[in-house]
Symmetry: C2
Subunit: 460 residues, 2 copies
């Protein structure tokens, strides 16, 4: 590998790579809005064209009942591993558009940032891969390993048809590694690999006391109030130390190892700044764990919505017939969301007073994901990022869920690498979304190196 | 008193009294609807005319910023006590009108019931007084005591201007007894005097966790969820025995005496039927008390409304910025609503986690009312009802509040007698409101006798 050669090419072509990205950012490919369906097609065409111009084969749009995915491949390294790069070309809506400093689909550079919808999520990061591939091909006339690219058009609307697409095209997408650049770094200057995601179990609790609303004067004191019952039941789900009290809830939780604890303890986390940034008096979580452990490696139970009775101005002395709540658990890898849903439902029913009717509905859920931090691919990514950013790279986890990650890993029987270049303050999904231009540059450099390092891993 | 004479007059004029009532029921005097303002004036005129034709003096409408009250007096018994009869001539709206069997303002007799809006609440009972007065005057050419009548036009819209009216016209309304017929009997065939009402303290609880809604993946586990905090705080307000846990809450509660306990224990209450009638699995209340004691003579704490986070279909993984609840206590006489509001607010703040901001607002409240069951006026009413209905009369209380009752008692320094002829199944405020015709007849007979018995009480 003529590494310096390729990296020099990157350094001297950053402006041109940015121009490519800006062309993509000018297309308002909002997947949730039917009016933008033509823009979705236009964006898919632009990306197909770019892959063709890079010399990719089998470039195609793969139709779904919704928006198509774009696919292309370069498979001229027989004997070398195959890398599948996943990204998405759809973006979030732009409302409230009046809060944008510059129009969301007219990319605008201010300071060291490029502002546009999709600048970081995820067009910016898709174009970083296209730039790194281009640098290899222009400098070396080859890639160091086989590369497939699949770009989804429905990530921002829940990837509704993507699992079906992957299952139908399992052979086409077959690969050894899957590389996704759609996650944030912990902070600026701290490149990282996300090796863990949490799962989710989402439930609804419905409590009924009577067949119609009752007057609190005529009935108060002799009938069960479903709102009182609901709050009592929900309050019983966690104790004062933040521990979930549902029997069996922690049975399948893999405890945090001493090594991981030490790793996480080395990461920066400014508790005061964090609380201030969200306007909270102080942070709060399960006792016995650090904040990042609570966020990344411990399951939670949060009430997401609650309603019942009178919600208007003033006073109404009603004992409502019904009370409702939505609640969900973020789960850690190895916890099964169906089992957790059953446990929460059983516990809620076991503590329900006999004076109300209680229904618990498991609405949906998903698995978490955890990669082995010692795996050669993660170590390759770690050293590639360290070289690309000229600083130590860190291993981090993510509190949220990315359902396609465990799905891709399982369906394609491949390792997933989450190497993202977003920053926490880049306003993904919000007005003034932006891309850090230094991250763009150093990210492309890192990817150039990462492709090479992955190509050198011996396949078992 | 030529008692039999007057009662005979009642018996032979029931149809004519009913015709008078029907004329009143045909006027849609809905106080809450500005379109019916002319009907309110028409109804006030009809009642003024009726008082004039009975020979009442100073017949007048007393204006308020809303609807006027109608007043008239007959004061030709110097040395005898003065009775103020209170009633209201406004009615509830009729929606959903399609659920009425006959049009709400076309009185319709079916079986032994007269159907119309206002049939029992309160026009039917106002006209029972006018009938009893008419029977006295036609038979005896006099009343046995001095009588003043005041008919409010804003009872169904919260009596907003009535306290001011009473305070302004304290001399005009001055009286020894105030008689109100606007309460239900415990059941058909069981005439009763309501000697106690509960008070009310109404509060709102607002909990804030962060300055904006947060994603439960990115923040779940390290921030306080205001919905979890809210349910925890609300759940702590009552223990599993239904006892309110707020310190000091029961300090001013007058315990139920052995005599009252025995009185209440003799009253019929069918627990199974009651639960079935409201569609509740079973009834539920504070341990250690009978259902009627729980309903009448014990304070309560009910959540009246709750809201926060996502309430729509499906799932949204949000940790909301805010959570809210409305809650109220029905209070027993001698409990001060301001003191109770302070106690509840202090307790909620004392158990609020430091990780959220908590605001408790005392919204409003009112006193309860308790008459001495041994007072001559209550004993007079008891024996008048027993005679009029030819059965034993009972002393009952009411779980709700009627704010004008303690207001009238205090402002006019008079005893209030609540002698109502409604039935629990007469659909006041609902479609197919109706008046039991036997109650109408026996109620008028009872009032004829009650006026006489009150006239014989020696004034101290």
């Amino acid at each position: 590998m003529q590494k310096q050669n390729i990296l020099n090419y990157v350094d001297s072509h950053v402006e041109s790579f940015l121009d490519d990205l800006k062309a993509g950012l000018r297309i308002p490919s909002i997947s949730s809005d039917p009016e933008h369906k033509p823009d979705m097609a236009k964006m898919a065409d632009l990306l197909s064209g770019r892959m063709n111009s890079l010399g990719f084969q089998k470039v195609q749009t793969i139709p779904t009942p919704g928006h198509p995915a774009v696919y292309g491949e370069w498979l001229h390294q027989p004997g070398k591993p195959t890398l599948l790069i996943y990204g998405h070309y759809d973006v979030q809506p732009v409302d409230p558009v009046e809060l944008w400093t510059s129009p969301p689909f007219e990319p605008d550079t201010r300071g060291k940032k490029l502002y546009a919808r999709g600048a970081v999520d995820d067009k910016g990061q898709v174009y970083m891969h296209l730039a790194a591939i281009s640098a290899w091909l222009k400098s070396e006339n080859k890639l160091p390993l086989n590369v497939k690219i699949v770009l989804e058009g429905e990530e921002e609307v829940g990837s509704e048809h993507f699992e079906e697409l992957v299952k139908t095209h399992r052979e086409l997408l077959a690969s050894d590694y899957i590389l996704i650049s759609d996650t944030p770094m912990l902070q600026k200057g701290l490149p990282g690999i996300t090796y863990g995601l949490r799962g989710l179990a989402y439930l609804q609790l419905d409590v009924r006391g009577s067949s119609a609303d009752l007057h609190s004067g005529s009935f108060g004191g002799i009938v069960a109030n479903p709102l009182n019952a609901l709050t009592k039941m929900l309050a019983a789900l966690k104790d004062d130390s933040g521990h979930v009290t549902v029997p069996g809830f922690y049975d399948d939780v893999v405890e945090i190892s001493a090594e991981e604890h030490a790793n996480i303890a080395r990461l920066p986390f400014d508790e005061t700044n964090f609380a201030e940034s969200i306007g909270a008096p102080v942070l709060s979580g399960e006792e016995g764990f650090t904040r990042l452990e609570q966020l990344w490696a411990r399951p939670t139970l949060d009430i997401n919505g609650i309603w019942g009775g009178y919600q208007g101005p003033g006073a109404k002395t009603v004992i409502p017939a019904e009370a409702h709540a939505k609640l969900s658990c973020r789960l850690v890898p190895n916890q099964d969301w169906r089992k957790i849903s059953d446990q929460v439902a059983s516990f809620l029913k076991s503590i329900a007073p006999e004076s109300v009717d209680v229904t618990v509905t498991a609405m949906h859920g998903g698995r978490g994901y955890l990669a082995g931090i010692d795996s050669p691919s993660i170590q390759a990514a770690k050293s590639a990022l360290a070289e690309g950013f000229a600083t130590e790279a860190v291993l981090i986890r993510e509190g949220g869920s990315i359902p396609i990650v465990p799905m891709l890993a399982e369906t394609l029987d491949a390792e997933v690498l989450l190497v993202g270049f977003g920053l926490p303050d880049q306003n993904a999904h919000a007005p003034d979304e932006n891309l850090d231009l230094e991250n763009f540059h150093m990210g492309i450099r890192s990817l150039v190196i990462l492709y090479h390092k992955l190509s050198e891993i011996k396949q078992v």
